[in-house]
């Protein structure tokens, strides 16, 4: 009997013990707030630049004004201890003492007009130029904002973000970690690495002129693509195919194409719609797609191919020389964990490489 009672008691304890923390949390809630949903944060690429611009306007204007009117470098500290250097127009900041020796400053650098940055320096604070900014090679910058253009020399590192209201140029072998945006154009040299970028026009220099179509090609009338075998659905303006799908070179198709495996758009073919391959998608040279290009693995755009809509790949996007993505007035997005782009490609809109973006050397 005692044994049974002990058993019942131990069972009751074992049952109730796990409930003790629960009962405490129920009676005295310590974590009952709703999950944080960020409702106001739009994720716009200019978010940080806009925030920094507001900060400059609110707190740093007096220093910029003084440097502009006096024509001398102004050095000051904000109430929280942040050090500021305001540089007159068309000058470079003058670093002294240990900063000059180490070629490094943690101070915010403000240019009252155009701003020059010397070679091989580290600027750990934000850099702001009321006009344009011209940087030498080998710079390391935390964040850069310019009301005019930004021209950075070779092997420059931008650690957080960069924004130019005009044109932004990153020299050969530069690294643009974080966000890079420009109001007009963004130019990247060979060997650059990037994360997220936006500009109405992004050029991977040197630009390559698309190969001119021969008169015979121009005059040739394209034939409509034939319905593929293994067609699973052919309604509502889309062809859904089990297995691989190939659009023969030189043909056209109006509507969306979806393949459960690989999808190939042959050389010179034209698709007036979007395409998706659940594995790889290849746009052969000179082909054109007027909608989105979506792949479960890789998207490869061969030389001189074009896509108007977004390019989405879950593994890699490779873009060859002479390729064009988007169009003036129709900006779009390229997104994938890894993006490799050859010099000579042209993109209108956004590029977002979640792991690594690279301009081929």
């Amino acid at each position: 009997m005692i044994g049974l009672l002990l058993l019942a008691l131990s069972c009751a304890v074992l049952f109730l013990l796990p409930l003790a923390p629960a009962a405490l949390e129920w009676l005295h809630p310590s974590d009952a707030a709703p999950l944080n949903v960020v409702r106001e944060y739009g994720g716009h690429i200019g978010h940080f630049a806009a925030g920094f611009q507001r900060f400059v306007d609110a707190q740093l204007r007096p220093y910029l004004g003084r440097a502009g009117t006096d024509g001398t470098q102004v050095e000051a500290a904000l109430s929280n201890g942040t050090q500021v250097i305001a540089v007159p127009a068309d000058r470079a900041p003058r670093l002294q003492g240990r900063e000059a020796d180490a070629r490094e400053t943690t101070r915010l650098v403000l240019g009252a007009g155009d701003l020059m940055l010397p070679n091989d320096h580290i600027f750990s604070g934000e850099v702001y130029a009321e006009g344009s900014l011209r940087g030498g090679s080998g710079l390391v910058l935390r964040a850069v904002l310019a009301k005019g253009d930004i021209r950075l020399g070779a092997e420059t590192y931008v650690l957080r973000w960069l924004h130019a209201d005009g044109v932004a140029v990153a020299g050969e072998g530069s690294r643009l970690y974080g966000r890079a945006s420009a109001g007009q154009r963004l130019l990247l040299g060979p060997g650059c690495r990037f994360g997220r970028m936006y500009a109405p026009r992004i050029e991977f220099t040197p630009l390559v002129r698309p190969a001119p179509a021969s008169p015979r090609q121009r005059l040739r009338r394209r034939e409509a693509m034939e319905a593929p075998p293994r067609l699973q659905a052919g309604d509502m303006g889309r062809w859904l195919v089990r297995g691989d799908l190939a659009v023969a070179g030189g043909t056209w198709h109006r509507g969306h194409l979806i393949a459960s495996a690989d999808l190939l758009v042959g050389a010179g073919a034209f698709v007036a719609g979007s395409i998706k391959g659940n594995r790889d998608v290849l746009l052969d040279s000179g082909s054109r797609v007027h909608g989105s290009v979506v792949a479960g693995a890789r998207v490869v755009m061969e030389r001189d191919s074009q896509a108007m809509g977004p390019i989405v790949a879950e593994d890699v996007v490779e873009i060859g020389p002479g390729c064009v993505v988007g169009a003036p007035g129709h900006p779009t997005t390229i997104t994938a964990p890894r993006i490799r782009i050859a010099p000579g490609a042209l993109v209108y809109g956004s590029i977002w490489a979640r792991e690594e973006g690279e301009v081929l050397a």
Partner: protein, 549 residues
């Protein structure tokens, strides 16, 4: 750490308790063996009042040969797990054989049949358990798929936003204001409150916004017709010409970027529907809302996202989501006879070659039930709708060659989710029945324990692994302490679902009763403070908050 800290984990506790009970069972069995040392025929002697002395059995006979089993000499006693064809079953001799009955009313055939059924239920529990593990581990350690979340620049398609409203005077203004403020090209978005036979001030409030924001809101006031959200959406869809339809319930408060996030997957030509994540707003109201918060976390943060990762069947949820108009037209539009129009739509799209995409980062607040009767009604409605969809689409899904194997299996398991509750209840009854009515305690007792544990830790709704993983992924900490109390929530869900299924099969269908759509109660009062804007600490840089100055 306390030496008993492992007991905070319900699964381990169940194991320990199960071990103790089994030990007790074995002890009892050992005692039983002691009693059973009485020679054969003792039971008869006992029944006769002990007047007949027990016959003396020679030693060699007592030990060898073994007594014949009920299965006969053809089957050796150690092989009695093999079940003979029904035609060969024989009447049960008392207290003999494999799962012999303690009660003379229960034949051995009955016991074996019950055991087979119990094995079947347990097999299903194991399948769902493995599924929960698979999803939770995938979310914790697998590769995560968010292929469309970074699309921020595009030629955005035209969108109509439905705001499903039925007597929503408390919340409709909040929802409209949030939608008027979203980041989407204004010429490409149209708001359409679908006011379904409201009898309160909903119409008046909507019309006041139409006047204040001319050209941005096209109201659809519905005063008659078939009741229910599906029927209302069906009527409203006839007025729509946009490429995409996004749907919110009137108590949802979308953030600025939400519409773009929900529309971006439609740039993939294979996407037929999109689902965002629903986040409970009134979590702190009472225990029920806190438990539902945990359950929702598990459902969205782990279950839905894992399906997305594994290219299975994320489910369109009817709100904070959207559908491509031509896909909707292609599958015949909304079904106004569907009690769960969301599940119905998911499967019709899947069978027609369209994918449903889940966007875990497209979050939106909603209210969850604050009282148990409301919760019970809600889950009973879901259960009936889901069962309806299961009967309609399970067969077609099983034999559809256009759907991948992973999608087929996941789709079938998803359809069976609500059927598991009555099955589990049945399994529980079987386990108890076998426990008390058979003598093969080592097996049936263990099975009974496993069945009970299946309820508590491994069963359909007791997706503790998923909930724990979800809370971890969400970065919350202390709320996980409430996890054991979810057992009670699950138990109520289990009984509610079983009741709904019973009603559905034995009353609604047999008696041809029409299925009734039941709207969930809202808790915000008219004029209540709008939903606050939350910015997590550290989400913005120092110069955003002006802290530098």
């Amino acid at each position: 750490m306390s030496p008993f800290s492992f007991l905070k984990r319900p699964f381990l506790s169940c194991l320990v308790a199960g071990g103790l009970l089994l030990a007790a069972g074995q002890l009892r069995a050992a005692e039983g063996e002691g009693v059973g040392e009485a020679p054969a025929g003792g039971a008869t002697a006992e029944a006769m009042g002990g007047e007949v002395p027990a016959p003396v059995v020679p030693l060699d006979v007592a030990v060898r040969p073994e007594p014949p089993t009920y299965y006969g000499d053809a089957v050796p006693p150690e092989a009695v797990l093999r079940i003979k064809p029904v035609s060969e079953w024989q009447p049960l001799p008392p207290d003999a054989g494999f799962v012999s009955s303690r009660l003379t009313q229960i034949s051995n055939e009955t016991a074996v049949t019950a055991l087979v059924l119990l094995f079947f239920v347990l097999a299903l529990i194991v399948v769902y358990t493995l599924r929960h593990y698979y999803f939770a581990f995938n979310r914790l350690f697998g590769r995560q798929r968010h292929p469309y979340v970074d699309i921020d620049t595009a030629d955005w398609p035209t969108v109509t936003v439905f705001i499903a409203a039925h007597n929503e005077e408390a919340v409709i203004a909040n929802s409209l204001e949030a939608l008027l403020d979203v980041d989407y090209p204004p010429e490409r978005i149209r708001l359409m409150p679908v006011n379904d036979r409201s009898t309160d001030r909903t119409r008046e409030i909507i019309d006041s916004y139409v006047v204040r924001f001319p050209g941005r809101i096209t109201p659809f006031h519905r005063s008659g017709g078939k009741p229910g959200k599906s029927a209302a959406l069906k009527d409203a869809t006839e007025l729509v010409e946009s490429d995409i339809i996004i749907i919110f319930d009137a108590d949802y408060v979308p953030g600025k970027g939400l519409i773009k996030q929900l529309v971006a997957p439609f740039l993939d030509p294979e996407t037929g529907a999109v689902m965002g994540r629903v986040v409970p707003l009134n979590t702190g109201s009472n225990l029920l809302t806190r438990l539902l918060d945990l359950e929702r976390s598990g459902g969205y943060q782990v279950d839905q996202q894992a399906r997305m990762n594994l290219r299975m069947v994320p489910q369109y949820g009817g709100t904070v989501g959207g559908v491509r108009r031509i896909a909707l037209e292609g599958i015949g539009g909304w079904r106004d006879d569907a009690l769960a129009e969301d599940t119905d739509l998911t499967y019709r799209l899947l069978l027609s070659g369209w994918k449903t995409v889940y966007q875990n980062r497209s979050e939106c607040y909603e209210e969850v039930p604050e009282s148990w009767p409301v919760r019970v009604r809600q889950i009973m409605r879901w259960a009936k709708g889901h069962n309806q969809a299961a009967l309609r689409y399970a067969g077609r899904l099983l034999f559809n060659r256009g759907v991948s194997f992973a999608e087929r299996m996941d789709g079938l398991l998803l359809l069976g989710v609500y059927a598991m509750s009555p099955l589990l209840l049945f399994g529980w009854m079987l386990a108890i029945f076998l426990f008390y009515c058979t003598t093969n305690q080592w097996l049936s007792g263990a099975l009974a324990m496993f069945a009970l544990m299946g309820y508590g830790a491994l069963g359909n709704f007791a997706a503790y692994f998923e909930i724990s993983a979800a809370v971890h992924l969400d970065g919350n900490r202390n709320r996980i302490r409430l996890l054991p109390l979810n057992l009670f929530g699950f138990l109520i869900s289990l009984l509610s679902i079983a009741r709904a299924t019973w009603n559905q099969f034995f009353f609604d269908w047999l008696l041809r009763r029409s299925l009734v759509w039941d709207k969930t109660v809202r808790y915000r009062q008219p004029g209540a403070t709008p939903v606050p804007v939350h910015l997590p600490a550290g989400a913005t840089p120092h110069h955003q908050t002006g802290s530098v100055g």
